[in-house]
């Protein structure tokens, strides 16, 4: 039991490290996926062992993915034993499940505490005048991305945790039937998610260039702990972090997902194992961040949600939460204001 726990703890640490280092993963990915270095070394060892003692060391090497010849054709049919499956199993069932669950619980708990102790950040007053913030196209891509993301997150979580959470409640048959639907839903929604993700990231990059006042926003954590306002342009620093995280984790989740989506290309098992781990890590990262985003833009902050619904925000909201942008808008309006007509008489 003790060694099992130690193994879990060990893999948990590895997994957590993986979550934090999403950036480096994409390049690592290609290297890992295409290499079969371990297997080659094993084969060499096996060959050496054959000449010396065909009966002992030989079988030890075979256990680590040595390939031979098989009349049966198929992906990796000539590999007698692959041992990376065990690593994948321990990563997925150990850290993949445990760290993911605790991470999501921690984020939800933190947001719950914020709501209990600070409550909704209310506007002190409304001017009643509104400013245009998001165009119809912006709102379309946002909600397209949001809805496809939620569909993927729910079905994905169902595949990861359902066996432990839903199956005991629903029974095996009902959960199996539900999963038989949620798996293809996950598959078929994903291309739409990719389209919306690319559109959103491309359309909003210009808003998300870091600015000098963003540091102050980050220092104040956006003022969420004190309800003191922090400087922000059209997009605040927190949203910018969300945007850039969405790019990084988005690439990982999409690339790994495309591997998992296309088993017909006969990817090797090690490619699929790595894809699965990266898919879980990036997916859970995105889900955790989306919790924060969903909280802050709805009950956490009065006046924010209406921006993505009607596209307009109250002047006071803009003044308080996005002062730099508000000043720009005011200056812009002033310069475009029609000059009072001069009397010709």
């Amino acid at each position: 039991m003790r060694s099992e726990r130690w193994r879990c703890a060990k893999w948990s640490a590895v997994f957590l490290g993986g979550l934090l280092a999403l950036t480096a993963l994409v390049s690592l990915y290609v290297v890992f996926a295409s290499s079969s270095v371990a297997a080659d070394e094993g084969a060499k060892k096996a060959a050496d062992a054959t000449t010396e003692n065909p009966r002992s060391e030989y079988w030890r090497a075979v256990r680590h993915g040595v390939s031979g010849y098989s009349a049966v054709t198929g992906p990796e049919a000539n590999v007698l034993i692959q041992d990376s499956g065990q690593t994948w199993r321990e990563l997925r069932n150990g850290a993949g499940l445990n760290v993911s669950a605790w991470l999501m619980a921690a984020v939800l708990l933190a947001l719950g505490m914020l709501q209990i102790f600070k409550g909704t950040w209310k506007l002190d007053y409304r001017t009643g005048k509104t400013i245009r913030r998001w165009s119809v196209f912006d709102r379309f891509i946002h909600w397209g991305l949001a809805l496809t993301f939620i569909a993927l997150a729910l079905t994905g979580l169902g595949l990861l945790f359902g066996r432990y959470v839903l199956m005991p409640l629903m029974g095996k048959e009902a959960f199996g039937a539900m999963s038989a639907v949620s798996k293809p839903v996950h598959d078929y929604v994903s291309p739409f998610f990719i389209v919306f993700l690319v559109l959103t990231l491309a359309a909003w990059m210009k808003h998300n260039v870091p600015a000098s006042y963003d540091l102050e926003w980050l220092k104040k954590v956006g003022g969420y702990l004190t309800h003191e306002h922090a400087p922000a342009g059209f997009i605040n620093a927190g949203e910018k972090v969300w945007y850039w995280f969405l790019i990084l984790a988005g690439i990982v989740v999409v690339v790994s997902g495309l591997f998992l989506l296309t088993p017909n290309f006969d990817w090797t098992r090690s490619t699929m194992q790595l894809s699965s781990i990266f898919h879980i890590a990036s997916g859970i990262g995105l889900i955790c961040f989306s919790f924060v985003h969903m909280y802050m833009s709805t009950i956490g902050n009065e006046g924010t949600f209406e921006a993505m619904v009607g596209g307009e925000v109250d002047e006071r909201w803009a003044q308080l939460h996005h002062d730099v942008w508000y000043d720009e808008v005011v200056a812009d309006q002033a310069s475009h204001e029609p000059q009072p007509e001069r009397s010709l008489g």
């Binding site: 096996a46 060959a47 054959t50 000449t51 003692n53 065909p54 009966r55 002992s56 060391e57 030989y58 079988w59 030890r60 075979v62 040595v66 031979g68 010849y69 098989s70 009349a71 049966v72 198929g74 990796e76 049919a77 000539n78 590999v79 007698l80 034993i81 692959q82 041992d83 499956g85 065990q86 994948w88 199993r89 997925r92 069932n93 595949l159 990861l160 359902g162 066996r163 199956m167 095996k172 048959e173 959960f175 199996g176 999963s179 038989a180 798996k183 293809p184 598959d187 078929y188 989506l261 296309t262 088993p263 017909n264 098992r269 699929m272 194992q273 699965s276």
Partner: protein, 199 residues
């Protein structure tokens, strides 16, 4: 209670693929699926070894551990079976399995995998023993009729053994002793320096 096991004697296997054919025919497995295969290591070189491999019916089966819908179960005889009515064809079992046992029938449209298919130790599935539904989904249930897997029964050189673990081990131990060879297991050179028999 018996604990069913497969054992392939690498000193006897002649890579005839009779086991593969016997399995395919007896169980009428789908096109493109081979529940059993023979792998030859060091093919054409001195000391080449062939081994017939299929589902090894693990005690702590990795496939069962990673299945998102928990469709695997182990029979009283230690045979690992799965329920195709619950399987969603995600392929996780095939990533976890060390032996490459889980197979997927010809891909459907849009690259969706069909239900997983694998060696059942000729013991069918969750349906009623010997029923038509069971035969169609999982193949012949020979175990319920008191017979052993056909792959082992048909093996011309009796390299592939199937049956209760204790009996299989007894047969193999006797063979090893008659060959008066050192044990085939790895680690001999580590335990006994320079491969010497003297301790």
């Amino acid at each position: 209670m018996a604990r069913m096991k497969f054992l392939c004697d690498s000193e006897r296997c002649i890579e005839c693929n009779g086991c593969v054919t016997a399995c395919k025919n007896e169980n009428e497995v789908p096109w493109g699926v081979n529940r059993r295969r023979v792998v030859t290591l060091g093919d054409g070189e001195p000391g080449e070894k062939s081994i017939s491999v299929a589902c090894m019916h693990c005690t702590d089966a990795p496939c069962a551990a990673v299945c998102p819908v928990d469709c695997f179960y182990t029979t009283d005889d230690g045979i690992v079976l799965h329920d195709k009515d619950i399987c969603i064809g995600c392929g996780y079992c095939s990533y976890a399995c060390p032996f490459g046992a889980p197979q997927f029938p010809e891909k459907e449209a849009f690259a969706v995998r069909g239900k997983m298919d694998k060696c059942t130790f000729c013991a069918g599935g969750p349906e009623e023993d010997g029923s038509e539904a069971e035969r169609e989904k999982y193949g012949r249930n020979r175990v319920s009729e008191g017979m052993l897997p056909l792959c082992a029964e048909m093996c011309a050189t009796k390299a592939l053994l199937a049956g209760d673990g204790d009996e299989v081990a007894d047969i193999f131990r006797e063979r090893s002793m008659k060959r008066s060879s050192r044990p085939d297991t790895w680690g001999w050179d580590v335990a006994y320096k320079d491969g010497s028999h003297e301790i």
